[in-house]
């Protein structure tokens, strides 16, 4: 048996091992990285409430030293639950939102290379771009809806349409 044989047999054996499971769902946007949030002791009650809200759903946004829960727009109980906007192209998502009465929308377009930290840039605009993966957004405190469009090279989409070709 040669080293080449060994490599081929090991590769075949490993390929036969069970591995079809999907990875676990990630914690909702942003919530996984706020554990080092610092706040004075006097802010502890606010922080506890914010952490509880974040644990339920949504992303955490740090404004000054106060953490605020921002439920994802498609999270359970939110106005866009089940809309699957991530499976639409940006114009389709915009049309859906307009049809359902969501007119106060900001589109944030991400460009660059997926996986290459520091290569990206983001711009905000009032109208949707013509292509890119739609990433479910969140309602800001004033009722404004932020929608993200991922146009980065190597992007893969997210949610129900992860891995589909970029619209």
């Amino acid at each position: 048996m040669t080293p080449t044989d060994l490599e081929a047999r090991l590769a075949a054996l490993e390929a036969r091992a069970p591995g079809g499971a999907q990875p676990p769902a990630l914690p909702t946007t942003g919530s996984g990285r706020r554990s080092r949030l610092f706040a004075p002791i006097a802010m502890a009650p606010v922080l506890v409430l914010a952490v509880a809200a974040t644990a339920v759903a949504g992303g955490a946004v740090v404004g000054g030293i106060v953490a605020q829960g921002l439920p994802g727009a498609q999270n359970p109980g939110q106005p866009l639950e089940g809309a699957n906007l991530e499976c639409m192209n940006p114009p389709q998502a915009a049309a859906y939102l307009t049809d359902h009465g969501f007119t106060n929308v900001v589109w944030q377009v991400e460009t660059g290379i997926a996986g290459d930290k520091g290569s990206g840039s983001s711009t905000q605009r009032a109208t949707p771009p013509d292509h890119g993966y739609v990433v479910p957004g969140a309602f800001l405190g004033d009722g404004q809806l932020i929608m993200i469009v991922d146009q980065r090279d190597g992007a893969t989409g997210t949610g129900a349409c992860y891995g589909d070709p970029m619209p």
Partner: protein, 170 residues
């Protein structure tokens, strides 16, 4: 759009972009990782548990990833968790005098499978990382958290064992 809501939007968008970034980089390695862990740990359920734990830990540490070799980074997290789990379980099973759970077995190449069973999990991990992934002894040492000389010994013993079980030429 007010300055405050712009700040909120930017923070949310930044976090969302990082999440998508993580999925794009790490998710393709998840299924291969589970298969690797099945072979190393010898048990599908343990492999699934460790892979899930490793994936979530990697997500939480994504900001600290140096951006070089995402597979090596994920495998490092997973293998260290795997060895910890195997160690804990051996202690526990010894304490309650129970046998190890039935291992995953491959009936398509029983000789190779049996030969691999004669190796300890750390040797299996080192062998696979070297033969299949092409990692150097130094890289494997980092991955397993052991000195380079230990990896050299693990690989040497693993190849000797396989030579006995499978024949000359390795």
């Amino acid at each position: 759009m007010t300055a405050r809501s712009e700040t909120k939007a930017a923070s949310f968008a930044e976090a969302a972009a990082r999440d998508v970034d993580f999925e794009a980089a790490v998710r393709p390695h998840y299924a291969p990782l589970v298969r690797r862990l099945v072979v190393v740990m010898g048990n599908e359920h343990d492999a699934q548990d460790v892979a899930q734990d490793a994936y979530l830990r990697a997500f939480r540490s994504w900001d600290r990833f140096d951006g070089r070799d995402v597979r090596a980074w994920l495998y490092t997290i997973a293998l260290r968790l795997a060895f910890n789990q195997l160690r804990r379980r051996r202690r526990w099973l010894g304490f309650i005098s129970r046998a190890e759970p039935a291992p995953w077995s491959d009936r398509s190449d029983p000789d190779l499978w049996i030969a691999l069973q004669r190796l300890d999990p750390r040797s299996r991990a080192a062998l696979l990382a070297n033969v299949l992934d092409g990692y150097t002894q130094r890289e494997i040492a980092t991955m397993l958290g052991v000195p380079e000389g230990t990896v050299s010994s693990l690989l040497s013993r693993a190849r000797a064992t396989l030579r006995i079980e499978l024949g000359e030429g390795l």
